[in-house]
């Protein structure tokens, strides 16, 4: 590794770390314990973990197939589809939430369908939170996986097919395992994005304690009253995220090759 990479790398790290340190230094940590044990905080935390977890699962279940299709399909339209997948990335989250509302809301055509089928409404429910988070987070998974798939090429997949493995077996036993490092980072990206999601959630799902008010929404609500306590809550969010990522990222995700 050339040493010239170190200075920019350190700058980059500083850009990331220093603000957080600044936050720590400036925030009133004595109130931390009482804040994070308040029922509203705990409710928000619980909801955040559940919804971010669920939406990460949804991202993987939907996004991995999409990434594989985009990377491996030779079809013509794929280039266009690849650009389309980026849409939620660019859309300001609030507008994304509006779009979901227009689609799945009471007057949206899918919303009408759902309501006539199940009698339930989608907005203002925990399900809506998960959908909003999946909407904003999935592109991160798809784009990072797709890059990795293209970079890796398909020679092992071809070998597997000559050994009689049907496409599904190839996918399960070759494509997926070789994709693990990239999947690991993709999962981290989408989990983090889902955990921090605010705009689309509040627009599409609303904000009600225990139902739709996730930790970021709680942070915003707090910030209206008292910035310091909001910062303390945000630190809790960080803590949780780092813990979850560190625990949930087994060695297997870090690369199969020594």
């Amino acid at each position: 590794m050339p040493w010239v990479l170190w200075p920019p790398a350190i700058c980059a790290l500083a850009l990331v770390v220093l603000p957080v340190v600044g936050l720590l230094v400036r925030s009133d940590l004595t109130r931390f314990p009482s804040l994070i044990t308040s029922t509203s905080s705990l409710n928000a935390l619980k909801l955040s973990l559940i919804t971010a977890g669920l939406s990460t699962v949804a991202c993987v279940l939907l996004g991995v197939p999409l990434a594989v299709v985009l990377a491996r399909s030779g079809a013509r339209g794929v280039r266009v589809l690849r650009a389309v997948v980026l849409l939620p990335l660019v859309l300001p989250p609030v507008v994304g939430g509006l779009a979901l509302l227009y689609l799945l809301g009471r007057k949206g055509f899918l919303g009408i369908l759902v309501t006539t089928l199940t009698g339930e409404q989608v907005p203002f429910t925990t399900a809506a939170v998960v959908i909003a988070q999946t909407f904003v987070a999935m592109p991160f998974l798809v784009v990072s996986l797709e890059g990795a798939l293209r970079g890796a090429g398909d020679r092992y997949e071809r070998v597997a097919s000559t050994l009689g493995a049907k496409p599904w077996t190839v996918f399960r036993r070759v494509t997926l395992p070789l994709l693990l490092p990239a999947l690991g980072s993709g999962i981290v990206l989408s989990f983090a994005r889902a955990l921090g999601e605010f705009g689309a959630t509040i627009t599409f799902a609303g904000s009600l304690e225990g139902v739709t008010r996730t930790l970021p929404l709680e942070v915003y609500t707090q910030a209206e009253v008292d910035v310091d306590s909001a910062v303390a809550l945000a630190l809790l969010l960080i803590l949780v995220a780092v813990a979850v990522i560190a625990l949930a990222r087994p060695r297997a995700l870090e690369g199969v090759r020594s």
Binding site: R158, S161, T162, L163, P167, T169, V170, R257
Partner: protein
């Protein structure tokens, strides 16, 4: 099962246009210089390359339209390409697993194949922890474990050491004897001889020579084949201490897989054949002597190749002599000679009966 294939493929400036057949249990050796299209042929058969025109039938069943996994092939490609995330055992078990065997059954079969290639002690290793030759052995086991209906082997003996190469050659002989039609790419005429009943020589994407291995290798018609082959090949039945030929006996060293009473071929280089005037007394160690008549003299690089005619194994026999020896013996077409070859320089190989 009989393979019959007609393939046409473009890869950049390179064009491939070949057609061939391999009968059931038959082995076709593909020879040819680097870049002549040998691996491309295997790629087309395996379904990894999309030929412009393809007719591939295995026992009447059309393969050309099928995806690779449905073709029932086993492919050993030129670079081993072991799955980096699986142990050697799981690599070998991959094919049985994929074709429906249970986990335990697949592992059992994988262990058997690893034993066959003498790599059982490597079972738990990842490919990154194997040496070049070890990886090659595992890759061979993996291709064979597919128990394919059509076996495609690209230079299976590359990277193998002097002990492993004959052992694997023996293994392949055993497998191929009763096995599926096989296409074998090799640079070594002895591999072709030991394993293949037919050879096809590729050059520039075309088959320039083809036929029974023995015939092509003993009487090559192209310069390339001549350079890699040009051996004396005497067919017969394996017998104690050598070969029973049409007219007698030829002493030689039998290879490990030779079974007495079965078809075999004696192989020896023209350079190993000594030529004596017919009147000469001869009672030395060379046990194999036959009477012949000089048929032709061909310059052959630094030596002169003497072609003989005569009965038994003298027919078509080639002997390489230095020009000085030819001059001294005053050889010319029609000269009666005794031809002799030491038994120790005659290798007797089993051949398939096609």
């Amino acid at each position: 099962m009989t393979l019959s294939a007609e393939l046409a493929l473009r890869r950049g400036e390179f064009t491939l246009d070949v057609g061939f057949e391999v009968p059931d249990g038959g082995v076709l050796a593909l020879l040819g210089p680097n870049g002549s299209g040998k691996s491309s042929v295997l790629g087309c058969l395996a379904g990894l390359l999309r030929p412009g025109r393809a007719r591939i039938t295995l026992d009447g069943r059309d393969l050309a339209g099928l995806p690779p996994h449905a073709r029932g092939i086993g492919l050993l490609s030129q670079d081993a390409l072991l799955f980096p995330h699986l142990s050697a055992l799981d690599n070998v078990a991959f094919a049985p697993r994929s074709t429906g065997a249970g986990r335990a059954e697949a592992k059992k079969r994988a262990r058997e194949w690893l034993t066959e290639v003498d790599a059982l002690e490597l079972a738990a290793r990842r490919p990154a922890q194997l040496s070049g030759g070890q990886a090659q052995r595992v890759a061979i086991a993996r291709a064979l474990a597919a128990e394919p209906g059509l076996l495609l082997l690209d230079e299976p003996f590359a990277a193998l050491d002097v002990d492993a190469a004959p052992a694997i050659r023996g293994l392949l002989r055993r497998v191929l004897r009763s096995g599926p039609p096989t296409v074998l790419v090799t640079h070594d005429p002895l591999d072709a001889l030991a394993l293949a009943d037919h050879v096809a020589v590729l050059d520039g994407g075309r088959i320039v020579e083809r036929g029974e291995t023995r015939k092509v290798l003993s009487a090559p018609r192209t310069a390339f084949t001549a350079r890699i082959a040009g051996l004396n090949l005497v067919p017969g039945i394996a017998a104690e201490g050598g070969l029973r030929t049409s007219g007698g006996q030829l002493a030689g060293i039998p290879a490990e897989d030779v079974v007495e009473g079965e078809a075999a071929v004696a192989v020896f280089a023209p350079s190993a054949v000594a030529v004596y005037p017919r009147d000469g007394e001869h009672r030395g160690s060379p046990r194999n002597t036959v009477e012949g008549i000089v048929d032709a003299l061909e310059p052959h690089g630094p030596v002169i190749r003497v072609r003989a005619r005569g009965d038994d194994w003298a027919a078509g026999l080639a002997a390489d002599l230095t020009p000085a020896a030819v001059a001294e013996l005053a050889l010319e077409p029609g000269t009666p000679v005794n031809l002799s070859v030491k038994a120790a320089s005659v290798a007797v190989h089993a051949v398939s009966d096609h």
